[in-house]
Subunit: 456 residues, 2 copies
Amino acid sequence: MKKYDVIIIGAGPAGVVTGVTVKKQNSSKSVLIITEEEKGLIPCGIPYIFHHLGSVEKNMMGLKPFKDLGGEVIVDPVNEVNVKEKSVSLKSGDIYHYDKLVFATGSTPVIAKFIRGYEMKNVYYIKKSYSYIHRLFGELKDKKNIVIIGGGFIGSEVAEQLALHHDKNVTLIESEKYCFSKAFSEELSKIATEQLEKTATHIRTSTMAEEIAGNKDGFVEKVILKGGEEIAADAVIISVGYKPNSELAEKAGLPLNVMGAIKVDSYERTSVKDVSAVGDCSQTIGFLTGRSDLIMLASTATAEARVLGYNLFSVKIKKPFSGTLGIFSTKINGLAMANAGIEEISANEANIDFLSAKFTDVDRHPGTIPGTSPMTVKLYFSPSDGTVLGGEVWGSDSAGEIINIIGLIIQKSITIYELVSFQIGTHPLLTSAPTKPMIIKAAEAAISMIQITKKE
Amino acid sequence: MKKYDVIIIGAGPAGVVTGVTVKKQNSSKSVLIITEEEKGLIPCGIPYIFHHLGSVEKNMMGLKPFKDLGGEVIVDPVNEVNVKEKSVSLKSGDIYHYDKLVFATGSTPVIAKFIRGYEMKNVYYIKKSYSYIHRLFGELKDKKNIVIIGGGFIGSEVAEQLALHHDKNVTLIESEKYCFSKAFSEELSKIATEQLEKTATHIRTSTMAEEIAGNKDGFVEKVILKGGEEIAADAVIISVGYKPNSELAEKAGLPLNVMGAIKVDSYERTSVKDVSAVGDCSQTIGFLTGRSDLIMLASTATAEARVLGYNLFSVKIKKPFSGTLGIFSTKINGLAMANAGIEEISANEANIDFLSAKFTDVDRHPGTIPGTSPMTVKLYFSPSDGTVLGGEVWGSDSAGEIINIIGLIIQKSITIYELVSFQIGTHPLLTSAPTKPMIIKAAEAAISMIQITKKE
């Protein structure tokens, strides 16, 4: 029976970053990561395996940084956790004791039991598993008609990547009016959906897949939409969301929230002493909503993992806020699009009072410089105190970092009034013009709106 | 004799943004901009006239946004300002009265009187004047050997752009060890200088131009360096800095600081009632140094102009800090490079205690994705409290916005400890990996340095 100072279950971004951070801070402590599979994948890179990367091997997430620091790794599924005896028993029968235990068990695709025929052959999910995706990658090669059910980020990005193969006929089915509408405003969802349509993807929105039907051998042949329309399918990929991998924790007696995520505090500690949980398997409290949210992003998982890693043995680096801020970005058909914090839909759901203002210009200056492209910044803000509550950016690749400026603005509760004197750097070949810095111009438009609203 | 509520002298970025902001906030007030030239230039775009833009007309800054709001413009040089009578008299003899006066007179190149022969024909400066640059653009066309004296941003960018013409032979002379060393650390200055060398620019650093010599008709033929070396020159461009255009204000009795800039408070007000000054002609107090600085950037000028524009008639939007933060960015030979706040040289000059830490990775993820390029983030921070005091970024174009994240971090006095839980958005095609967000990894490296320093 061996004992480790720290045992981490799971080798995704949350597990690895926790391991690396703990080991860096406590080089003398023994840290073990237990994982089900030898090889791991970078979750957000999975869609790009199907075209841009062109192979599963190019999207590997290694444990080398962790091992280089002296961390140990065991590949063996966990059977059971005993929080009283502080032990973990593995499928092989081995038992390991811990001083501190971290659940970083991630999430798993929601099985579409609500669709008849969901169990047919050649019906796939985007599991964050090397062996599964490796098999999927191989099996899709000779499939022509591919139907993807669910137009969130993963579904849409996989659709775009598959549609870039000229021999494939890709159809995406989304129940909402537009794809990406879980994260983006209606305005941006519409733009994103139009971009996706410009790739060779056929898109059916505001409809549902009612049945997956196939031949007598159980192989899928078509997807039947609500209303009876049939779409030929050699393969179906279902991407209707993920749920926390929390069975193991639940069996061990850890409390879960209504969404099935392991309950944790701001420092990722569960209610059981010496047991923590990070990443997709753990509860997130919305930064702006103040209540349970289901934000599953590698970026927020690693932020949680860093907080836990520094503070696992005692709180050393105080967290300046509580809550998770979802920052989403993607690039479809060459257009970068991103959101941070609230937009209309999530604000209304959470009953948050807001106004929005936007500014459109070009991403370089002057506009005559070669390679310039349009860019829009939209800010969501409190009509009461002017605090920035959310933002969206779309245009060229710079959007991927501009959204992080807005993310910091939200995290620091900066107001539109403060942004008037926010000092930025500009350059003709790199940014918009100093006379029209986009975040600041959007803030100025926001100030005008409050002034008008007050006058009315 | 006509009276305006507001008269602004100067139509550069500071003047135009002041005019637009004042007019937007006070549509019923009459606002007049007085300018010397009908046509204006975007200052930071001037170097790109010589190649990327290919014409002066493509780098025009219009007064249309100001006029569209009902602003008026007079093209006529100002002869004198009388702050007692609150009047401005023009070269034409016209006199205008004001309620509020704003100096936005900009800056002008420092004349290199310390170089013998500086008055020869075909010796030029990069003046922010349409007619001057138009003439320079035309006259450089048939010049083969061009010598540029001064390797700051303007000199270096002009050198790169001219060197992109294969029929030109461009030499840059810089007295410091590296170009860009007024704004960049030695490490980044070296990288920037190497990039500039990779364009066809010949660079001579750690030397001085001692004499500009020419033929009996007064046309330049060569530049003689300290030590006697001679460089053939059909044209010489001198770019050794700018000085505030403050003669008019001085004549009117406004106090100047030691650098010749018009003294102003945090809201850009001079010591004379109803008279303000913004942009290059006005005093800047360093955000970190707390003392007079000579930061002349269109981006800081427009930030000042916005603050003034909102608060000209009464303070309406409180400025959350005082002081100007210099944020510099450029792109040479395809490499984007940027600095915000202090680096080694300026920190030592201002006697600011600091440490620095950096992190290098790739700008997209996984590193195997096509089009990925290396990126480095360097943070300067206080060894006492961990506050971020400066930063540098170099790599792909994203550097232009990443430096603005760092700029906001500095302006909000965020510490390296807070950055551990800073939440960001990541995407394979847009940013570095969620497991290695570059600003946060640099902050973690910074924390380790403080820990090591404390142990020592």
